[in-house]
Amino acid sequence: MGKAMLEVRELTTKYITRFHEDVYAVDHVSFTVEEGKSIGIAGESGCGKSTLALSLMGYYFPPLHYTSGDIIIDGKNISGMNPDDVRVKILGTEIAYIPQAAMNALNPTRKILKFIEDVILAHDPKQSKNDIRDLARKRFEVLNLPADVLNRHPVELSGGMKQRTVIAISTILSPKVLIADEPSSALDVTSQKLVIKMIRDMMDMGFIKSMIFITHELPLLYNVTDSILVMYAGQLVESGLAKQMIFDPVHPYSKGLMDSIIVPEEGTRDVKLTAIPGTPPNLKNPPSGCRFADRCKYAQKLCKSFEVSMRKFGEVSPEGDTSERNRAYRCLIPVHELKESYDKEREGGLSS
């Protein structure tokens, strides 16, 4: 087991609405990202995945508020730090954050190199401009970005190139954690692939030590991250390796998500797509018990009254399979029972 780069323990954050109601968008979330690993977060819109990204940065501004829990980056607890300290001491060196619209955040009147100088000088005012230029050029070279981009203005670059440039700028200080929130969703598929390739290269070369990747596109997540967390209504409902999560989901909600994947590959045309009925609960007053129970076709009586926490499979799996070691899910029904129901349904679907 590698060294933990990011450890999140029972993190809870809330929005306070203008009617002074508390909305817990991230509710007791815990996970660990090891050095050199990447983790993906999947879920429907409004499940709290983007709020989780904002919360992890420790950079809170109203209406988002920190409630409880720990965020530990490479052994250092940053939860509860004040936003100004976070901006100076954490962003850039410990954590880099790339939102979907990052490419539109560049001031159009300045050259790319200027942004890099800003980032580096903010953390080390003594660096000489020549050193910075050399560093930037070298970094751009290994990432397959043309070096002359450094002397251009943001408006001269295409959307995909701009997004890659922004990622290169924000990771110039080799942060320990990269948080990427839908970094490629606004791009066409070819640019998306180049962005993903660059992020993977940066992981391989150690420019970023670990990554959290958030997207609603499951095939993308499968190709980018080592493991996947599924979020529902502010809580984690299942975690596991990417392959296990895509092809062998256990939680009924993850199962529903995975069954809605559409890819242009042979044979996929004849697979039955399923939908999850209903809508996610209102987080202003979440239902008691399992939050998914209302939409779950396997729900039992107890589900609506009994709240389950994340359970590791090791304790549940009868086979004792070691690859299941790191998996966990939040459901009352035992793993083997769920899997049996899924198998039965699949056979039923094929025979009809």
Binding site: S191, Q192, I262
Partner: protein, 287 residues
């Protein structure tokens, strides 16, 4: 509101196009002019859509697919070329003729939240469809019956919708209400412009299934416009691939996606992340 999982496989609902051509175009072109600069959004496209067919038009943003949709709907004038509706050249020169044309072609748009007039209740939206079909004079009970039928077609209960505003529904439900509207209007052709792109993946299947049912029950010709090649592959009988205002490739879905011939299609299929085959990073088309 209850929703049921789709009951039939998409493949069972697909069919081969044998019907008569309902909508076709020859050299359809749209040129935007601003400040002396000419911008060709749609560049001499030819197409032929047949009765009962479900055709996808696939293109990325900026490919001109939205402009083409507007021309097909008669919301934007055509710069050059002709569109043929039911075999004869389309004539929408007067408001009366336009109205007649729109009885035959209707649309579902991308964003359900901006598709409804927020000041109109659901009842008004649905009643308006009956007026358009010339059924405005039917007795109230009969109208109610038709509306209830349309709602149950999309798994919504009219009793739960009446006196509500569309924005009180979820995105998926709103989009289903759009389909109910189409069910009431029963046009020959339905243009669905990215109807699922604003909707969560887990409600997407329901919408797709309803579109397929609509086609199967009424023999409606559906033009499905999307940027998602996987989605196009899943739902369509035939696919047109659009790049920079031109159709670079078209044919049956299997043929276009599994054995693409145009470079652009190849790149598109290759660059989409996959789960059964490895995602190919090696080929760089140098953009």
């Amino acid at each position: 509101m209850s929703e049921q999982a789709p009951t039939a496989l998409a493949s069972d609902l697909r069919q081969d196009a044998t019907g008569i051509p309902v909508l076709s175009g020859k050299g359809v072109t749209k040129v935007f002019e601003s400040g002396g600069k000419k911008n060709v959004a749609v560049d001499h496209v030819d197409f032929e859509f047949r009765q009962g067919e479900l055709v996808s038009i696939v293109g990325e943003s900026g490919s001109g697919k939205t402009t083409l949709v507007k021309m097909l709907l008669g919301l934007t004038a055509i710069s050059e070329g002709d569109i043929y509706y039911m075999g004869t050249k389309r004539d929408i020169s007067t408001r009366g003729k336009k109205k007649e044309y729109w009885k035959g072609i209707q649309a579902i748009f991308q964003d359900p939240f901006s598709s409804y007039n927020i000041f109109h209740k659901i009842d008004a939206v649905l009643l308006d469809c009956l007026n358009m079909r010339g059924l405005g004079k039917l007795p109230k009970e009969k109208k109610l019956e038709l509306i209830t039928e349309a709602c149950s077609f999309v798994n919504l209960k009219y009793a739960e919708l009446t006196n509500k505003y569309p924005f009180e529904l979820s995105g998926g439900q709103q989009q289903r209400l759009m389909i109910a509207r189409i069910f009431l209007l029963k046009p020959r052709i339905l243009l669905a412009d990215e109807p699922t792109s604003m909707i969560d993946a887990c409600s997407r299947a329901t919408i797709l299934d309803m579109l397929l049912n609509l086609r199967n029950e009424t023999g409606m010709m559906i033009i499905f416009v999307t940027h998602d090649i996987g989605l196009a592959y899943y739902i369509s009988d035939a696919i047109y691939i659009m790049e920079r205002g031109k159709f670079v490739e078209h044919g049956k879905a299997d043929q276009v996606i599994l054995t693409p011939t145009a470079d652009y299609t190849k790149r598109l299929v290759n660059d989409v992340p996959k789960i059964h085959q490895p995602w190919d990073f090696s080929v760089n088309f140098g953009k």
